[in-house]
């Protein structure tokens, strides 16, 4: 390896390490997570074995005989060292315990009534009804809702419950009782089957297309051209002003829009004298919500196009303008025939660039409407975020969120590879002129 290659790898190393740990690894993990059933409930690292009522429901629907499930769920009363110790702790008389241990160790009763009858028949039977009632629970054994930390412990408990299971059934019970995450392709199935998927896609398209059309390219062009025709000072001032939404903290910026639209805010107050009832303009109807979403994002996005178009216009050779002025072209004709044709590539660039940015963006919508009203402004990226990290129910669906994210990544990579071809990536990779 040449000395410069060695130096190059050394200089690249810090970036490579950071990128590998916090870019590549998470990206791969996202892909991995999308094939799991990971949620807050399952935890991240692993789980335990617990026969919950949901698990029993799953067992039934998985085809395990109802009688078997019931048998698993059944409670028993058993006399062994464990239950005796619990009973002693619960205050059951020592004589009773002694009699149970010496004469009845290992006996099992299938229901409470039998067990109570049995207790009443003991020599050292409980002194009164209250003592009898208190003596019963310590002996109750059931595997339902008991948490077993290892599969072996759970299997032993199942075996101990006296239900005869063949190997396949045992596997099934163990699988369904596991509370940790599992490998599954169900997320993709759910995604494909859900009607919400298509709606979400439509909303995302609407969001990206209208923001780019009206602001990131449309209004950016207006600003660039308008400031070109302004004297130097005011032109620069306008451009600086329109950079503010981009530079401002997003929380403050979006909240100021909220204030503008809020039912005690600017719009409502100004419109009140005109007889318009105060309301939250941001959330009162899907149409209004969309208008605000596009405005909020558009005001931010206009600056990049404005700056790029402005410098592109300034790069147009002055003689072209003089020539068209001599030909008697009006300002509008000049824009149409001199400026716009020269902006073809910058427009294409801004469009492609902003498509990717908007596809990925969700902060502004999250802060403004959080997808509301209903889910009428929930775009794909926001859905991924909300599913995985922002659920009100407190159960975050990491697996499903990752699945949504993976779709976004695939689209993003495909689109950006297409752009690399379009904008001639090879030309960016100039060969080094010092060969050592």
């Amino acid at each position: 390896m040449s000395s410069s290659a060695r130096l190059g790898l050394l200089m690249l190393a810090p970036a490579a390490i950071v990128v590998a740990l916090l870019f590549v690894a998470p990206a791969i993990l996202t892909g991995v997570f999308s094939f799991t059933s990971m949620t807050t409930a399952t935890g991240i690292t692993g789980g335990a074995w617990q026969l919950t009522s949901e698990a029993m429901g799953r067992l039934r629907s998985a085809g395990l005989a109802a009688a078997t499930v019931d048998a698993l769920a059944a409670e028993h009363y058993r006399i062994d060292e464990t239950t005796l110790a619990t009973a002693a702790d619960a205050g059951v008389a020592a004589a009773t315990i002694e009699e149970l241990r010496t004469r009845h160790g290992g006996e099992t009763f299938d229901n409470r009534r039998d067990f109570e009858r049995f207790l009443k028949g003991l020599a050292a039977k409980p002194a009164n009804v209250a003592a009898l009632k208190a003596a019963v629970p310590p002996f109750r054994v059931s595997i339902v809702n008991v948490r077993y930390e290892t599969a072996a412990a759970f299997d032993a408990a199942v075996a101990g419950s006296g239900v005869a299971l063949d190997a396949a059934a045992r596997d099934l019970v163990g699988r369904e009782a596991y509370t940790g995450w599992r490998w599954t392709t169900a997320n993709y199935g759910r995604l494909a089957a859900s009607p919400e998927t298509l709606a979400r896609l439509g909303r995302t398209l609407l969001y990206v297309a209208s923001t780019i059309l009206f602001f990131n390219v449309g209004f950016a062009l207006v600003l660039a051209i308008a400031t070109y025709y302004l004297p130097k000072g005011p032109g620069a001032a306008v451009r600086a002003f329109w950079l503010i939404p981009r530079v401002m903290p997003v929380v403050l910026y979006v909240m100021l829009w909220k204030w503008l639209a809020w039912d005690g805010g600017f719009l409502s107050t100004v419109l009140a004298p005109l007889g318009v009832a105060p309301r939250n303009w941001l959330l009162d109807s899907p149409v209004n919500a969309w208008i605000f979403i596009v405005l909020i994002n558009g005001f931010i996005g206009a600056s990049m196009g404005m700056i790029i178009f402005s410098s592109a216009i300034r790069a147009i050779p002055q003689p072209l303008f003089y020539a068209s002025a001599v030909d008697g072209a009006s300002t509008l004709q000049q824009v149409r025939h001199v400026i716009l044709p020269q902006l073809r590539w910058p427009i294409l660039f801004v469009t492609s660039y902003q498509t990717l940015s908007l596809l990925a963006s969700f902060q502004e919508i999250l802060l403004a409407t959080d997808g509301g009203p209903g889910s009428s402004t929930e775009v794909w990226a926001l859905a991924a975020y909300n599913t995985a990290l922002n659920s009100y129910t407190g159960n975050l669906q990491y697996g499903m969120g990752a699945t949504l994210a993976v779709v976004l990544v695939v689209v993003g990579i495909l689109v950006s590879l297409a752009y690399l071809r379009l904008f001639n990536f090879a030309a960016l990779v100039e060969r080094p002129r010092i060969e050592q």
Binding site: S3, R431, R433, I434, E435, Q436
Partner: protein, 347 residues
Amino acid sequence: MRIELQHFSKRFGDTVVVSDMNLVVEEGEMIALLGPSGCGKTTTLFAISGVHRVDEGRITIGGRDVTRLPAQKRNVGVVFQSYALYPHMTARRNIGFPLAIRGMERRAADRAIDEMAELLEIRPLLERRPGELSGGQQQRVALARALVRRPDVLLLDEPLANLDARLRLDMRGEIRRIQRETHTTAILVTHDQVEAMSMCDRIAIMDRGRVVQIAAPAEMYERPASRFVASFLGSPPIAYLPAAATEGGLRVGDALVPWAGTAPRDTPLSIGVRPEDFGPDGPIRLAGTVAAVESHGREMLYAVDLALGARLRAIQPGIARARIGEAVAWGFDPARMLVFDGEGRRL
């Protein structure tokens, strides 16, 4: 020190930029690599300096094989077309940079810098930054920086291209003077034939990665190896007439031109006539019409469209000898003409 290139070849990817080049530059000599852009002359320069890897062949400097030696260890001074001064350093620090890198002690370095500044007459400019210097001054600083380390070889890459015409004339002489005074072996890369002819002991003309001819300027002008070389030297350039070998000479149009050379009968040849060899008084007369007359002050430049279907240029001192549109029968001296075969080789 003596530089020697043996069978040097260089490719960029699949493009062969220089192939099988052989060149010897004697100690203290200044040689020009002359050729059109893309002929491989700058690539050759960078291979000698160590910036480009050598794909095939060998390069030695002062007898030492430097083919695989990194640029840092070759002790070669380079002056660039853009001067490539370090913009954030004063002229003094620019010149001193190679010394600082070599770990030279501060006082000794300052003495060397001052000495170099004296030689190049830039003493008063030493504390300025490149941005505050004119093109010519930057050029001198760049030269000083290349020479201060006492390089084994001085390489000049189009050093005058960014100067205006007047300054270029001065610097031509200056560079040559300093090269002589420091007795440094030098290679000048240029596409300007006047620069090459006026500054260098010898010229190597390159075309599409190959050296076509190496010779002293006068010899190359008088006896070019090919039409390509003949066309490259001289301004206004040489012009050509179609000719054919016949009994006892060449047939050019209607005229029979005496020629001592040999060529198969009736092969298409061409003869080259330089503008200074064509005029009202030459022995071989050709009829034509004056198409253009330009005054260059001391001399007049004419273009004559000949009846045989070619155009010759003529340079004549003094007042106008003909008007535009005038029918003339001007001539040239066959002893001065150059004869080329169909492939452009001189016969």
